[in-house]
Amino acid sequence: MSELPAGVERREFDGESRLSTRGEPVYGEPTDGAWRAWDARRSKLGAMIELGMATGLAGGETVLYLGAAAGTTVSHVADFAGPTYAVEFAPRPMRDLLDVAASRNRLFPLLKDARSPETYAHIVEPVDVIVQDVATRGQAAVANTNARFLNENGRLLAVIKARSEDVVAAPSDVFERELDTLRESYEILETERLEPFHDSHLGVVARPK
């Protein structure tokens, strides 16, 4: 088991030990004082940490988050990390993400397409961590084109959803293919299937080549 980042703690919620961070609640998660549970079933990064993957997260780092959606996961990230740039290209979830950002003054919402990093490179600084959960075809390619944002010793924490690439192929084949593409820009450090929290998703930790 790797250590939890500063700002993330295991605490008891309704008699169950769960990950938690400190911040305004976002999605109806249980709270305990200033702490709120981080639901690994609703958050793939939460599942990666819950499964003990070596994310390298220590707390306080600068983060680029790709595929922020309504902010379920990025809200927890902003709770324990430093400046957090949240890219999401769909206006509907962005509306909710704005509520999440209202109480988090180091969370910067960007309505941008993660496939076109040149449209936000004038805003996003080089970061320590890229978290990626875009769940659309071409996931590895998105990570590759965003590698330019990662500091030399930075980490990519990516989730690959098999069904987003190919609904009929065996997930393991899809993962192999995507990992091959990822190797163009990254060295893969660790991979792990996210069951039982998320079916047919692969968690990936990588560093820039």
């Binding site: 206006p91 180091r106 969370l107 910067f108 040149e118 004038h122 805003i123 080089p126 330019r148």
Partner: protein, 289 residues
Amino acid sequence: MTDAGSDSGWFTSIPPDDLDAARTAIEHGSTETPADWPANALETAFAESRADYYDTLHEATTHTARAAVEAHERADDQQLIRSVRAMDDCDRTANELAERVQEWAGSLFPDAGTGIDGAREIATRESSDATERRVIELAGRVVELADEADDLREYIRQTAPSVAPNLARLAGSVLAARLIGLAGGLESLAKKPAGTIQVLGAEDALFAHLRGRAPSPKHGVIFTHEYVHGTRAEDRGSAARALAGKLAIAARGDHYRGEFNPEIEAQLEARMATIRARADADGSEDADE
């Protein structure tokens, strides 16, 4: 660098407190590679400290995203238009096919009912041969189409109030969607005078009138509103005019401000009460003609 924008941060040529300039820069700027923008902002005196820079960035990014989200929601009128058209297509096709089913089923099952309800009942039957199976399957398709129309209607009921709160309140969601569709969008509906809104959907009758071949139409699609079709014939013109007037105000409020204003409805109710009081004054037997 020849192109000033190509190698610089979003803040390079804007004053620190100009949110709209920041929005333009955030939305339209671009550069290939990131840089240490916070440090750069300090060097160029855009910000006094990193904390100051991040505060400004937070304000600028949330302002920009909010403006874009709001612009998108205004554009949702196009989704509403498509869904009301799809609903009409489903309804019409379901009814047409139901007639086919009825005609065919009548030759096989003497007790077959009519319309969508008839198709619903036939769809539940067991077939005893290949012919019956085809009719029953076809009835099943009718039911699916009719259900899809209902789902679309429900979707319109749920979304119209967020696209056009005042219009949806006054006209009902489906009629609001139809009016927006006939105008081609909320913005163009908001720019139409009340007299035009009154006859939207009656274009054929209007052109016949303009060519001198028919009386001027008193109402278009707003006839489906209870305030119009539920008013006795001699007062319908007044009712249609009153309703169209308030619909025009509602459309303008929805497009330009987007906030619900209960006043409009209250005024329309008062006006309708006056118009309908005429019928009561003329005697109650005339009122329900």
